[in-house]
Symmetry: none
Subunit: 417 residues, 2 copies
């Protein structure tokens, strides 16, 4: 039986509590640890205050086996993490010759070194030193009272590479288990519906486990397994993944990807097809999201942001009478926009979006009414009602997701609508 | 003497401990609280585990006056925050009629009805309900055992606007002192240059205070005053603000606004002018960012995403020989793009962006080379070198900011370049 190492990450820094800085160290360290099967159970952030930090360390000693700190290793009078952690475990700080020499080297090299810089060479007695190639303050690790303590500097540019190169191998020796996770990305079904669908199995599952998470305009189902090796964990995941995929069917748009447009790029490249977009209410968002992905230029021709009826008529060449009769937010105009942008930009597929993103209505449709179109061998138009209570940004993003989903469905031979 | 409210933010979610998600809620809530003079002393992250959450709440009760939770309010079996917090304070959950009806309405909007959705309408007895306009799960606040507890949903798109609109006013009432902050938004100067410029004054200031902060592609200088009343605080800020504005000059693009495009919309509306955009490397981002702001339709005509040379020639009507001779990434093509999109869309101002956002180069220019153009009574083109080491997203966003800044300068009678 593998020992379970519960881990707490304590980030020290008043700037985090003021909201000036985002705590990316906790995320990055957690992500690296989860991959080697070490469970992070708590993140704590505390200011540059030795008493409060001491209290946090006492709490961590009770609930964690591994304590990882970031921040407070520098030369300023605020930097007290080493002092607090060392004394919390009844240890002393002693001068480290090698680190002291590094500081002497700086002086020889002509760099100005203020006396407080030498504090950085004071390290817990008997510790493993983590030399800092990315800055000046060294990190360290020690074991005491059955706990494992690791300390890293606060700046992410030092902390993250240092943890990866020195912290991770130090901890890897402890772990006999590997953890592997895969995510099914879903569009057209909500997190709660997925939860409802799989609740009985999820309650019974121990290893692998399965959990749905909501994302901005879609959701995912994550399957995670622990095993002696990655291969074994993959083998445990495979049948669960297959069954979940089969049950979720068309809703699955990809595995381990970030967004639906990533899948659409992949499919367009595979089939050597291109697309172009005519956008009204999304105002360039569909093109913008797509072209934010490197490699988009291989499959994206361009588009027209036809925000006004003049541009719909003048640039796309839609008959003004049609726009007047049917309205800019209509099935007919969405159809024309998709067909015309396809021809105009010389693309294989043309897509279109026209609708009301709000907050103001047009006196005819309710906010959230959007028509999305796709023209290829034939033209498809879908009418959406994305919710009057939704934000403008949500409606725009969701409308874009529907466009990408229509393309995904078309390119994989599913029913487009 | 004003009571000091020490605050702890507890974010609930296993996805945070796995490093799948960055904890932006803690940062955003902390930032908002620091502006109204409430001190955040701890951030804690714990998984979707009721026992562990209970222990964290017990710790928070000992060291904080205000406990704010995010996450775990949704409909899935993992969502147990309300249950744990309510029972930790000896309260019960009761059905809230209004929220139950809202959930019916929401689900009518197209989502599948699953029984677990109704759990969201169970709220602590006697609580203040924070209705969720941005999603389904309501938040709430209650006071018990001398503590103030507030709960918000986990998705940042719900949590942040909800905290801003409902949580902040709720907490503001507690404070006898009024804190007022104003921010000068700056483009064209970096945070460290601003820091250097005002360092001497900042070190001497007590109330008001002044501090520069870096944002994604620009920065801001924040001036904050504490006083008995808002009026008094405003009076204290005014002269400091005026002096800072005078010293920063053209770099100031606005006060208390979120982004430069917000200022451009305002100026276009004031002058009753419209614009259109021709975009290559920003791929629709300039139009997308602009139209994300409500009211954009009054001043934005539309645009062309001329991602390929075919579209530059075929839709914008640029001479293919010019593109071939000068290259798509050139002064000349940027100029033509701005001029042609202006005429094509019938706008007063035409803007253009053509460049290399990377990661791949074109063998001629280094990544980060971008030409931005603006055509009005005359045409202006600016050549930018945004840094070979920068990300694609940064280059696209920064190029967009330069376009908006050219328009801002033109519309306020400053030198455009």
């Amino acid at each position: 039986m593998n020992k379970v190492y519960n881990t707490e990450i304590i980030c020290v820094g008043t700037e985090l509590l003021l909201g000036h800085v985002t705590n990316t160290n906790s995320r990055d360290i957690s992500e690296m640890l989860s991959k080697i099967g070490i469970n992070v159970k708590y993140h704590t952030v505390v200011g540059d205050n030795p008493e409060k930090l001491k209290d946090c360390v006492e709490i961590a000693k009770k609930r964690a086996d591994i304590i990882i700190t970031t921040g407070g290793l520098g030369p300023t009078c605020d930097d007290l993490t080493k002092q607090v952690l060392t004394s919390a475990f009844g240890l002393k700080l002693v001068e480290n010759k090698a680190e002291m020499e590094t500081i002497y080297e700086y002086i020889k090299g002509g760099k100005k070194v203020t006396p407080n810089n030498y504090i950085q060479a004071m390290l817990p007695e008997g510790c493993t030193v983590f030399h800092n190639e990315w800055g000046t303050a060294p990190g360290c690790a020690f074991e005491a009272e059955g706990k494992i303590v690791l300390m890293f500097p606060g700046p992410p540019k030092e902390c993250v590479p240092m943890f990866k190169k020195l912290g991770l191998p130090y901890l890897k020796k402890l772990s006999e288990e590997q953890i592997v996770s895969h995510s099914l990305r879903l569009f057209g079904i909500g997190e709660s519906a997925v939860d409802y669908m799989f609740r009985d199995e999820m309650n019974k599952m121990v290893n692998p486990t399965m959990a749905p998470y909501a994302k901005e305009c879609d959701c995912l189902l994550q399957i995670t397994a622990k095993a002696k090796s990655e291969e074994e964990a993959e083998k445990m995941i495979a049948p669960v993944m297959e069954e979940a995929k089969a049950r979720l069917g068309d809703w699955v748009y990809g595995v381990d990807i970030e967004c639906i447009e990533e899948r659409v790029i992949e499919l367009l490249k595979e089939k050597n097809l291109s697309f172009a977009a005519a956008e009204s209410c999304t105002g360039g968002d569909v093109a913008g999201r797509f072209t934010d992905i490197p490699g988009a230029s291989a499959v994206f021709k361009g588009g027209v942001v036809s925000y006004t009826n003049e541009v719909k008529a003048g640039v796309l060449g839609i008959d003004p009478t049609l726009i007047e009769e049917k309205g800019a937010v209509s099935y007919e105009v969405a159809k024309e926009m998709a067909e015309r942008v396809r021809v105009l930009c010389g693309a294989d597929i043309g897509v279109s979006v026209t609708g009301l993103a709000g907050p103001d209505g047009d006196g005819v449709h309710e906010v959230g009414t959007v028509f999305v179109g796709m023209a290829a061998d034939k033209t498809y138009v879908k009418e959406l009602h994305l919710g009057t209570y939704r934000t403008r940004s949500f409606i725009r993003r969701m409308a874009g997701n529907h466009v990408f989903d229509m393309m995904r469905r078309y390119l994989t031979g599913l029913n487009v609508i």
